[in-house]
Amino acid sequence: MAKSNIKKKDTHTISMLVANKPGVLVRVALVFARRAYNIDALVVSPAVNPRYSRMTITAKGDPDTLDQIIKQASKLIDMIHAEEHSDVDATHRELALLKLKATAANKSAVAKLAKKFHARIINESKDAIIVEQTGTTEDLDAFEALLKKCGIIEMVRSGKLVMAKGKEET
C-alpha cells in the first residue's frame, strides 16, 4: 500500500479554478518553478462553465513554501480560486494505463490481479496487453508494485483528480 510516511506528508494536492485563457498554465507553472517546487502531476480540464478550467496539481515539498505558492497563485488575475485539499475533505481518483508483455504467464497473472484491483484489460494484441485502472493514488501504486514482476513496458498515469465532498466547492 502507501509508501513511506514522509513522502505522503510532503505530497500536496492543490485544486484551482482558473479563467480559460491562453497563458494561464504558464503563469501557474511559473509560481512553482520560481520557488524550485517540483510539480509531480498536473491535470487541466474544462469546468462546467466553459469560461473556466480546472487544474489539479500534485506537488512535493515543504508546507510553508506551498502556502506561499498558493497565496502567490491566488494573486494571478486569471485565478478564481486555489486551494489545497486533504484526503479527508475531498475524494481523489487517478487513472493509469499499463502495458505489459502478452506472454501466456502474464495474461493469467494480470487478469487475476486486475480483478482484485477492479482494473480492466482494454486492449490485447499479440505483443502486449494494456490494463486500465482507476482508483486512489495508493491503489494505483500498489497495483503497479505487484505488476512489476510481470514486467511493465510502459505506464501512463493521469495525475490526481480531486473533488470536494458535500456542498463545498472544489
Binding site: 511559473l30 520560481r34 488575475i77 486569471d78 478564481i80
Partner: protein, 583 residues
Amino acid sequence: MIKKAKKKTSKKPASKKQLNGAEALVKCLENHGVEYIFGLPGGSVIPIFDALVGSKIKLILTRHEQGATHMADGYARATGKPGVALVTSGPGSTNAVTGIMTAHMDSVPMIVLTGQTISPMLGKDAFQEADISGISMPVVKHSYLVKKTNDLPRIVKEAFYITNTGRPGPVLIDLPKDITSGSFKGSLNPKMDIPGYSVPGKGNQKDIAKVAQLFKASKKPLLLIGHGAAIANAEHAVRALVEKLKVPVVNTLLGKGVFPESSPLNLGMLGMHGTAYANKALINCDLICSIGSRWDDRINGNNDEFCIGATKIHIDIDPAEIGKIVQPDVSVVGDARFVVEELLKLVEPQDTGKWLQEVDFYRKEFPLKYSDDEGLTAQKVIDELYQITKGKATVVTDVGQHQMWAAQFCLAEHGNKFISSGGAGTMGFGFPAAIGAQFGNPKDLVVAICGDGGFQMTLCELATAAIHKLPVKVIVIDNKYLGMVRQWQELFFGNRLSGVDLEGNPDFVKLAESYGIKGVHIDKVEDVHKKLTAALNHKGPVVIHAEVIKEGNVFPMVPAGKSAHHIIIEPPTTQLEKPTGST
C-alpha cells in the same frame, strides 16, 4: 538649389471614418486620462505612432526603451497615476524589461504597450519577433496578447483597473500589428471580464480591534512605514495615529516621508544603511507594527533574529505578504488608509514618555555624521541639497552609495517626494525617473542624485530633457568608482578591487553642454552652497558634476544576512567576515 516641396502631414481622418485598432487604442488611452506616452517607435508600432498624431496625448520620444519605462515609472510614483510606455517589438520590448521589473518590485502602476509581429507570424521567428508576454510574465502584475481588434477597449480598461488597484504593478499589452491596423467595430466602453480579480477592502474589524489591544499592552511600540502606506495615501491617517499614540516611527527607503522625517518622532530609515537610532529602536521595541512594508531582507537582515520578543503586527493589502518573511502575531489584510483610519478610532493615547526618552538617547548618542576635513564628500553635497531645499524638492535617486546617503540626509516630508528603485536596485533608474517625475509635476523642483556609474547607463536621456527644456536637475556624485561595490570589496574582500574603477569617465560638464544643457562643476567644500543654490535656481535642466573623495564609505552598515544587533556604526579597523545575506 532646388526648392524642396515641404511635405505636408496629412490631417487626421475625418471623424466619421471608421477607426482602426490603433486609433481605437489611442481613444481609449485618452479616455483614461493619459497625458503622456514615453516611447520609441519601430515597424510594429508605426500604426500606433500614426494614431498619436493629433491626439491630445503628448508623445515623449526617449533615446532608449529603458528610459521610457523608467520615465513612466517616475511619472507614476510622483503623481499616483499610471505611467504609459510604448515600444516596438523584439529588441524594443526586451529593452523595456528592466524598467518593467523595476516597477514590479516597487508596486508601481504602469501600462507597457509593446508592438508585436502580425498574428499569423506568431511563433515563426518573424523579424523582430520576441515572445515578450512570455519573457515578462514573472515581472508583471498581468499581461495580454491581443487577439482581436475589437477586444482592445476591454483590455485597456482592465489594464488600467488592474495596474492601479490593490497592490499596483505593471501591466503589459502585446499588440500584433494586424490587430492595431485592423478595422475596429466594437464598443469603446465595454464591460470588464476579470472574474478572478478582487481588491482587498477595508480590513477585518476584529483584526483591527486586536491590533488596538496590542498597542494598549505595549510600553515600547514602534511603527514601521513602508511604500504601501504611501501608495494608499495613508499620510493623514498615519500622522493622526502617530500623534495620538505618541509612537516613534521608522520608515523603509520607499516609505520615506509618509510621516514627516523632520519630526522628532521620526527616526528615519531602518535597515542595512539606516540610521543607528532607527536600528536601535528596532532592537529595543516591544511591539512593531508594519504598515505597508514587506519586511524585506534589506530591513530585517536575518528574519530568525528579527525583533525577537517583540509583538509583530502586519498591515498589508497583499495577503501573500503576510507571513512571507516574518510571522506576525496579528495581521490585517486591507488598504492601509482605511485600516489606519479604523485603528485610529480604537486606540487610546498612551504614555510613551520613557520610551521616547530612550529613543532620543539613541538619536543623540549615534548621530549621522561626516567630516569636511578630507575634502568634498558626497554626504556634504547631498546634505547641502537638503539644507537648501528642506524637503520641498522631489528627490529621485539612482542606486549605490549616493542613494543611501540621499536616504540618510534628504529628509522627506511627503510620501511621493523621495523616489528610488528600492526592490530592484536598478542602476540607470534615477535620471529618467526624474524626467518622468518632472513631466508629472512640472512646477516642482525635481533633483536626480546619481552616481557616475549609474548616470552613464541612461545619460542618453539628456537629449529628452534638453528638447523639452525640462527644469530637472541632475547631481552626478562622481567618486570615479562603482562605489557601493568598491565599499564591499574594501570591507569584506581584503580591499582587492575588481571591476570597480571607472577610469574613462567623460567630462560631465562638457557632456551636458554638448546637449545644450548647463553644466556646473563642484569640487570644493566652500563652493557647494553657492554653486548648488545657483544651479537649483537655473530655469532649465542642469547637470551638476560633483567630484567627491574617491573612497568614502556608507555607515552605519548592517552586513547582509545579519540582524540589526550587528550594526557597524564607525568605520571598522579590522577585516570583516564575508556577509552571508543575499546581496
